[in-house]
């Protein structure tokens, strides 16, 4: 199928071998625009895509007690210059299940496009989900990415989410995640974004620690140069006894870029504790000089520091 060939080609462009990712043992969904062009479920993982009037609806379920060793791959992309991709994802981790999902978002060729992902994630008691979303963009900057997620982390469940967009122009990025964590549950959200030119970045990630001893970490790492702008809101609410949360935001700004970090911490239970740290500025001088003292030119040292932070 031509679309699948295009996707394979896109994978190769970013240095990934699709044959290593989409193996016979791997559960995957491959969607081009609003067409599902590849689908494979494996034992313990049910993937049901459906085309709707507005886009693609994908129901993904990891069955109770199943520990899926091989990551599940969700591949989304547009391979033409202009287009829209709307994805409605309903992901359920049944009790005591475990899985890692990789969401590959390939938009290397687009010039005027929109990718919207609206996710509802239900991680039931004792389950564990690692969800890595990696975007690969081209140099045009003509893409709008709008990820939305409502996540419920059940008792003793664990949710680790990592969003990375460091290749190519960001375009416009508008992330809005809400995560609610039940007793003894854990949520760790990390976003890493590198903005250039006139890229516009908005990230709002909120974690409500609603159950006793719930834990949360909201971590953002953003580098900006040229005229790029970023507004980062990391929110954590401690609403139960023993809840512990932390918001950690670090932004490196160069050129005429502008950044703001708004840590929002709120506690509504006397035995909850939420902390935050935020740093915005140029590259740390001490780090810069430490690398220059090893003979690295200033620009190489800066790149090393930023890529390390976004690693």
């Amino acid at each position: 199928m031509a679309e699948l060939d295009s996707l394979y080609k896109a994978f190769r462009q970013i240095g990934e071998d699709p044959a290593q990712i989409l193996t016979p043992q791997t559960a995957f969904v491959v969607a081009y625009g609003h067409e599902v062009v590849g689908l494979q479920s494996v034992e313990g993982v049910i993937l049901i895509p459906r085309r709707t009037g507005e886009g693609i609806e994908l129901r993904a379920t990891v069955l109770e007690g199943r520990h899926i060793e091989t990551p599940v791959h969700l591949c989304f992309g547009l391979f033409e210059r202009v287009g829209v991709q709307n994805v409605l994802l309903q992901l359920t981790m049944q009790p005591d299940s475990r899985a890692t999902f990789w969401s590959h978002c390939l938009f290397t060729n687009v010039e005027n496009a929109r990718h919207a992902m609206t996710a509802t994630v239900d991680i039931q008691a004792g389950a564990q989900l690692i969800y890595n979303e990696v975007h690969y963009h081209g140099v045009s900057g003509g893409i709008e990415v709008i990820p939305r997620a409502q996540v419920a982390v059940g008792p003793r469940a664990r949710y680790v989410a990592d969003f990375t967009l460091v290749q190519g122009r960001v375009g416009t990025l508008d992330i809005d995640y809400d995560v609610k964590v039940a007793e003894d549950g854990v949520a760790e959200l990390t976003s890493k974004v590198y903005g250039h030119a006139t890229d516009v970045i908005r990230i709002r990630e909120a974690v409500s620690l609603d159950g006793d001893n719930a834990r949360g970490l909201v971590k953002s790492r953003v580098a900006l140069d040229d005229e790029a702008t970023a507004e980062i809101v990391g929110a954590t609410y401690g609403n139960a006894a023993g809840a512990r949360g932390h918001v950690d935001c670090l932004e490196i700004v160069r050129g005429n870029a502008k950044a703001s970090a708004i840590p929002e911490v709120r506690v509504s239970h006397p035995q909850a504790k939420v902390t935050h740290e935020a740093a915005i500025g140029s590259v740390d001088q001490k780090q810069l000089e430490a690398l220059m003292a090893r003979g690295l030119a200033p620009e190489d040292a800066v790149d090393r520091i930023i890529l390390g932070m976004l690693g």
Binding site: E289, M292, R294, G295, A297, R304, I305, L307, G308
Partner: protein, 239 residues
């Protein structure tokens, strides 16, 4: 023999305050030169000035390295000419592994051997992030390993044993000896008498001024006698 590093009448001011006052210093090839002085005497300031760190550009005086004037060279160019600095408080990096740091700026380094030289088990450390998960002592030893991998002509070691447990100090002494065995000169900033006593030559800084230079025993004795810090500037002139 022409000194590898020559510093003449070096003066560094921060606003109205003089941090270095007419410093003269010479370090020869393969020499171990100890730099002594009380806290705040200007030892680290001199190290940063030699290395070329930001805000440490001297207003007066000249620094020469292997005959070449250093004053106008940026930090990384000084490093490329064979100057290296082990920082008193090394930087930490998010997302940079120990191995990546030890390979930075070198083409033929052996990170594992360098870690072993500072009594760290390479397999335990090479893949670890160079961040706050390392203790201060571990980070210091990795810093020394980093300088080893550079094979510098002159290694400036700023209090290399500070924060190091006493069981490991002997290994650090071994590292200093290793520099010399490979032909590197060492400018050693230290508060440890036993380390200073191993040097070939020594200098004492006080109030940003070299107040005593010569044989280590003489300089150590002068420092211990606190002559310059008790003279109110009458003898050493820094008051």
């Amino acid at each position: 023999m022409t000194p590898l590093l020559t510093i003449n009448s070096l003066t560094l001011r921060a606003g109205e305050r003089a941090l270095l006052r007419g410093v003269d210093l010479a370090v020869r090839e393969s020499e171990l030169h100890a730099l002594l002085g009380a806290n705040g005497a200007g030892k680290s300031t001199l190290a940063y000035t030699i290395m070329g760190c930001a805000s440490y550009a001297p207003q007066e005086g000249e620094m020469r390295f292997a005959g070449e004037r250093l004053n106008d060279l940026p930090l990384h160019e000084r490093a490329r000419r064979g100057l290296a600095l082990a920082w008193q408080e090394p930087a930490r990096f998010e997302g940079l592994s120990v191995a990546q740091f030890l390979r930075a700026g070198t083409h033929d380094s052996d990170p594992a051997a360098a870690l072993a030289a500072v009594a760290l088990t390479p397999t335990d450390y090479l893949d670890r992030p160079l961040d706050k998960t390392l203790s201060g002592g571990e980070r210091k030893r990795i810093e020394l390993a980093g300088v080893l991998t550079l094979k510098p002509r002159l290694a400036i070691l700023d209090e290399p044993t500070a924060g190091i447990d006493f069981l490991t100090v002997d290994e650090i002494v071994g590292v200093i000896d290793a520099f010399r065995l490979t032909g590197s000169a060492v400018l050693l900033i230290t508060h440890q008498e036993s380390l200073a006593a191993r040097a070939d030559t020594a200098s004492q800084l006080c109030g940003g001024r070299i107040v005593c230079a010569g044989a280590p025993a003489t300089v150590i004795e002068n420092f211990k006698a606190r002559r310059c810090t008790r003279c109110n500037g009458v003898t050493c002139g820094h008051g």
